[in-house]
Point group: C2
Chain length 204, copies 2
């Protein structure tokens, strides 16, 4: 792919860290970024539009996409498939626009295998106590289930090592500003700039 | 060196591109960054303070610094030595503060040899015509000398490949914002963040 392609930004992090909230706030602030549309086999809900909210697929269609390596990542959840179609991402990047993908850590690691040139952002809690509060704060959880979730969160933090950047989600506004700075900086990387200058050296 | 060390930011680029102007503007905007103090054998001018404007050295002292590898880079210019003392940079970084070094491209490449973990920023002209105008705009140059400078600038742009980032200096305000974004992003790199989280995983 060319150097004028957009960036694939993968925003992930432990469950309960606030990925969805940060992603919604970013969507308000950065109108130019395209949000990846997932494929799913679950039935559309009232008002959901194919190609906007999801690409709605039959199980057979989805399994064919898996076989033909048309998904950057996928998982089965409560009897339905969910995944990220490679074509939508690649076509949007080729048009020069950045794409953001908000995704669980297991999915992010699948994307990294298939699309290592992506920019991988790990959204982290300010501290473990805060994360515990957020997990407990959902209410209705037993102490045992809270403890298990915390163990999972600790394991997920060790996955941090697979990412390019760590963005602490202490305040949504600050987390968004950090992500914006990362996007700006990534566009200024030498690899993405030098070809323009080489071009006008030729023309001079 | 530890992960809580400051960043060494090396701002370089072709002569005439406006490194000094951008660096002065950054100094106004980012009060926390420490500007590297050079060593020189030239005599102090009225009002210049040793250790603030320069570290003033005798030729013998300077040559000893070269021999003992105490300079990140050095050059001789109009009969005087100029260089960047390694100790000042390393001590400032160890205190957790970022250091910025504004320097010609030849010096920047010497720094890269001795301090590859630095963040290397190439300040670039918006286009070659603009660069030509800046070079000619100094006045008093013959056409031949202008043409030679332009050749040098072209060669310097090929050095871009050795840098981490390319920052176009179209407007000083914009160039400063880009550099600030790069500094923010570099601090968020996983390598600089993960040890904090590992630490509090141990404590939990």
């Amino acid at each position: 792919m060319g150097n004028d392609n957009g960036l694939l930004l993968v925003l992930s992090g432990p469950s309960g860290v606030g990925k969805g909230t940060v992603c919604s706030a970013l969507r308000q602030r950065m109108k130019d970024i395209v949000y990846s549309v997932s494929a799913t086999t679950r039935a559309p809900r009232a008002g959901e539009v194919n190609g906007v909210n999801y690409f709605f697929k039959t199980r057979q269609e989805f399994e064919q996409m898996i076989e033909q390596d048309e998904l950057l990542e996928w998982a089965e959840y409560v009897g339905n498939y969910y995944g990220t179609p490679r074509r939508f991402v690649e076509e949007t990047l080729a048009s020069g626009r950045d794409v953001i993908l908000e995704i669980e850590v297991q999915g992010a690691m699948q994307v990294k295998q298939k699309f290592p040139q992506g920019v991988f952002l790990f959204l982290a809690p300010p501290d473990l106590t805060e994360l515990r509060n957020r997990i407990v704060g959902r209410g209705t959880e037993t102490e045992e289930s809270v403890r298990k979730r915390l163990e999972v969160a600790k394991a997920e933090i060790e996955l941090m090592n697979q990412y390019d950047y760590v963005v602490v989600n202490d305040e949504i506004e600050l987390a968004c500003k950090r992500i914006e700075a990362i996007i700006t900086a990534e566009h200024l990387r030498k690899e993405r700039q030098i070809h323009k200058f080489r071009q006008w050296l030729k023309e001079e």
